[in-house]
Amino acid sequence: MIKLENVSLVFQGGSVALSNVSTSISEGEFVYLIGPSGSGKSSFLKLLYKEYFATKGTVEVVDMDVTSLPKWKIPILRRKLGIVTQEPQLLEDRTTFENISFALEILGYDSKEIEAKTSTLIDLVELHESVYKFPYQLSGGEQTRVSIARALASNPLLLLCDEPTGNLDPNLSIQIVTLLEKINRAGTTVLMATHDSSIVNRRKKRVLQLNDGKLVSDAAQGRYI
């Protein structure tokens, strides 16, 4: 599903975000990407959906060679991925239903399909009571759920989550992780960046640890120490 070989990312001005990172993630895995702030977690994820371009090495995602992928093919790659950011990035003037259906509209579904699929996604993220609420009427956890539902609109093979629990309290964080595990069990590969040690240590999943842009450990049932 994901394969990185000797990948480095150096920004203009010389600051190194990633240095010689090599790893691979198989289909169906749930993997945590951990490390302190500035360790390169977001850069790692952004390389996967070609928001950033690797300076060195090769990146392969969902059978696509991302390194040599021309700019015009980036949308094709992204349609196979779901992207969840720390800020839910919801459209303030639209309800929960509209925020999710917006994604389906963009993907070209017709109105009947949009209606049906939006309802399914709302069921999945358990937001029945907030369907017609606007983002400012939702809690942080609910907003993250909407953002996850929207990311799932394209039936992605791989879900990339960049600190989705970063702004949430422990209880809500657990609920979000539980939801992501449910999505993973349904067949979607999940890679979640986080610096929340309590979640990582409790869930006993594979953990990739970054420090100063280097991959310092890769453990099957890792812990965040």
Binding site: W72, P75, I106
Partner: protein, 291 residues
Amino acid sequence: MNKLSYVIKNTFINMRRNPLLVVATMLAVLVSSFLVFTTLSGRAVVENNTSRWQNGVHVVIFLDDRVTTTAHKQLQESLESYPEVRMVDYFSKSEATEEFKFLFKDQPELVQEVDFEILPSSLRVNLNDPADYQLIIERMEGNPAVKEIRASGEAIDRLLSLTNTLVISASVFAVLIAFAAFILIINTLRLTAYAKRREIKIMKNLGASSTYIRLPFIFEAIFESFVGTSIAIGLGWAVIQYSKGSVIAESIFDITISDAYLINLTLGLILSSILFGLVASFIGIRKALNE
């Protein structure tokens, strides 16, 4: 089909965000297109008229009253021998009197006051190339039989020179306003794109292509440009129709422009407006897409 409805819906949502800017843009396009349309139409009218005048008499040589019939015939034969000359007509004093009476038939007081004895006989010269009028003037100057020489070419040259100055001034003005319209479109789109930056970011993450994200902006720019130009063209046609029955048309100019010319001008302006909108939208949205 659903994607198209998204694009159309969003085009109008975008325009609703900055209605004043949209109106300002359309007005700027309208003024610029109207100037282009009227300037080019006006030039065509002047060119039609001058060409018509150029097909008539090019040089009039007024003869001295003392000149004998033999002398005027010699002068006429000598003129006819020049390769530049196509035809020479003798116009006697009595013919000049009749012509004067005809031209001023609406002003009987003037006709009554004039002493027709002062009207000279003349030789009216038609040239193969109207631009050669200066050669005839040079050859006839100093001839004792010649009282005065008048060339229509001088007046036409002055008129064409004035027309060209007006065309250049109007074109410069039109280009300046078109540039202002261009900047306005870019600015309107940038404001809209800024207001929609979150939506654009989401669309990019969902895998929407750049073209798809751009389309509502392209449609908006083309729409604004097209509406402004269409109104300008409508006004231009109205001005031409009005001018045909105006005092100018009855006294100085024959306001005739071929339909083919006007249709070509209309199509050219509409195509230019579409191109104009396309280029402006590409520049306007480029930054928002690259962020």
